[in-house]
Amino acid sequence: MIDSLYRDLIIDHYKFPRNFRRIESATVVKEGDNPLCGDKITLYLKVENGKVVDVSFEGSGCAISQASTSLLTETVKGKQVEEIKCIVGEFLAMLTEGKQPSVDLGKLLALEGVKNYPMRVKCATLGWHTLEQALKEIG
């Protein structure tokens, strides 16, 4: 069962986080944290004409929070803001309400196992809630 949580892909993204850097010319920079467990991230988004042309993050915390955010950056890069909003909604619904996603979440499905660990759901959603806030800011 533990393997359904710590899939190889998660461990890989934890050890080798993708897009782990600052973007100096970011359109929006957003911080997120789970004060109760200490996970922290900073998300950088560069948006042009309604499209996320670059995205990155920095942060520290558990494998789930960091890998989830790393996967997030891979997922959203190059996508339209509207499409991203949809993915965020589907992803959060999958983890917090146990809903079957209606779009193909691809690699993100590797995080589905988190829903069986209620105390860890917040770790997996941290980056995504931060992204939600960031997208709100750019309107």
Binding site: M1, I2, L5, Y6, I11, L36, S60, A63
Partner: protein
């Protein structure tokens, strides 16, 4: 070793093999006699206490006061010095509010950086309300109280010193007699947070020499919702009431009220009689096993845990206090404590990970979190072996 004690704990006994409960600093499991005392009270003797003039109420009142007496005996205090509260947190809040009401701007309260939030936040609240100074004593690299810093922080303005008896993160047992000696030399009162100590070693408030001692029932094999604040009678007598309500008054008129003597002055409203009665059964339980036996067994297991950790290069134990009791925090290289706890939890090993309600200590240690083993009287060497076996899984997952 107390081989068979675990049989008295239904939850432990029934889940033997699939559950290793090592989160006793958060809360201990309950022996049958405690659970049964709780149920029996409601089945057989239930009534509100005080002033009921019928048999059930008389019985409930007698049981409540006997519980008070039993607890006084357990910690070497007097019956009328035992105030029932919800737990350690309420005990410290009661003291923070009532003691601070007697202090003047500029007076100092001294605590230590290893305190649990419950011995931090109430003092922050009342010091800011009343312009008092909160001073925080540092620890040494090993995780002991820094006595030099302690002596420096104590001044003629120090009115209250509040220190934990046993750290819930480092396992450090503090030398309370020494704290008392220094604090009393400037006339400060000493409050001891006994939450982690009282189920792990013999506590005798007279011997410790402190002025207040507070602890929670649920961490000493007793039920939730009940705890104890012990205080020297002369000091309790001087304190104003905190919460107002029934049972704590002598006479109420529309605009004025006179209050009862301690301990009743501090027990406003219907008390948790069932909780107090069951807590006194937890005392019976501890006494029948022998607190010294529990201490010896936990000491032995702690040594074994430290020995095993010593063999693992990828684990660091947090702190190496001079005297450690029942609690060992550690970190695993490259793995966050929450991930450690999740993987262990998946194997049925219940440990705690996080800041353990001691964020100032975490900051001091430059850690965001640790994993923590904390022992109870029912833990065995086999269980520790199971823990270490599962710890290998952590390594494998993150290999």
């Amino acid at each position: 070793m107390l081989y068979d004690v675990y049989k008295e704990f239904p939850l432990i006994y029934r889940n033997r093999g699939s559950l290793v409960y090592l989160d006793n600093a958060a809360s201990t499991q309950k022996p049958s006699i405690v659970i049964e005392a709780l149920a029996d009270f409601y089945f057989e003797s239930y009534a509100n206490v005080h002033r009921g003039i019928y048999k059930l109420a008389e019985k409930a009142t007698a049981l409540y006061e006997e519980a008070r007496e039993k607890i006084a005996w357990f910690i070497g205090g007097r019956k009328e010095e035992v105030v029932f509260v919800r737990g350690t947190t309420e005990g410290i809040n009661l003291l923070a509010y009532t003691l601070s009401s007697r202090l003047s701007a500029g007076d100092e309260i001294v605590i230590s950086v290893m305190e649990h939030h419950s011995n931090f936040v109430p003092w922050q609240i009342v010091t800011s309300m009343r312009s008092l100074n909160l001073k925080v004593v540092d620890i040494t690299e090993e995780g002991d109280l820094d006595w030099k810093d302690f002596e420096n922080k104590i001044t003629e303005k120090t009115k209250v010193v509040a220190i934990t008896h046993l750290s819930n993160v480092l396992g450090t047992l503090n030398d309370i007699r020494k704290v008392v000696e220094i604090a009393h030399s400037v006339g400060a009162v000493v409050i001891v947070d006994g939450a982690q100590a009282v189920a792990r070693l013999k506590v005798d408030v007279e011997e410790l020499g402190c002025d207040f001692y507070t602890f929670s029932g649920h961490k000493m094999y007793g039920p939730m919702g009940i705890g104890v604040l012990w205080g020297r009678y002369e000091l309790l007598e001087e304190l104003p009431p905190w919460q107002g309500g029934g049972e704590m008054i002598e006479k109420v008129t529309v605009y004025n009220t006179s209050f009862r003597k301690p301990p009743h002055r501090f027990e406003a409203g219907t008390p948790n009689v069932a909780g107090a009665v069951a807590l006194s059964k937890a005392v019976d339980f501890i006494s029948s096993v022998g607190i010294d036996n529990i201490e010896a067994q936990e000491d032995e297991l702690v040594s074994y845990i430290l020995e095993r950790f010593g063999e693992l290069r990828w684990v660091s134990v947090v702190g190496s206090p001079k005297v450690r009791k029942g609690v060992v925090s550690f970190t695993v290289d490259g793995v966050h404590p929450h991930d450690v706890a999740t993987i262990l939890g998946n194997d049925g090993i219940a440990i705690r990970a996080g800041h353990h309600c001691a964020q100032p200590l975490m900051d001091r240690l430059s850690l965001s979190a640790t994993s923590r083993i904390s022992l109870g009287c029912y833990n065995t060497k086999d269980e520790i072996d199971m823990f270490f076996k599962s710890l290998e899984n952590v390594r494998k997952v993150f290999a």
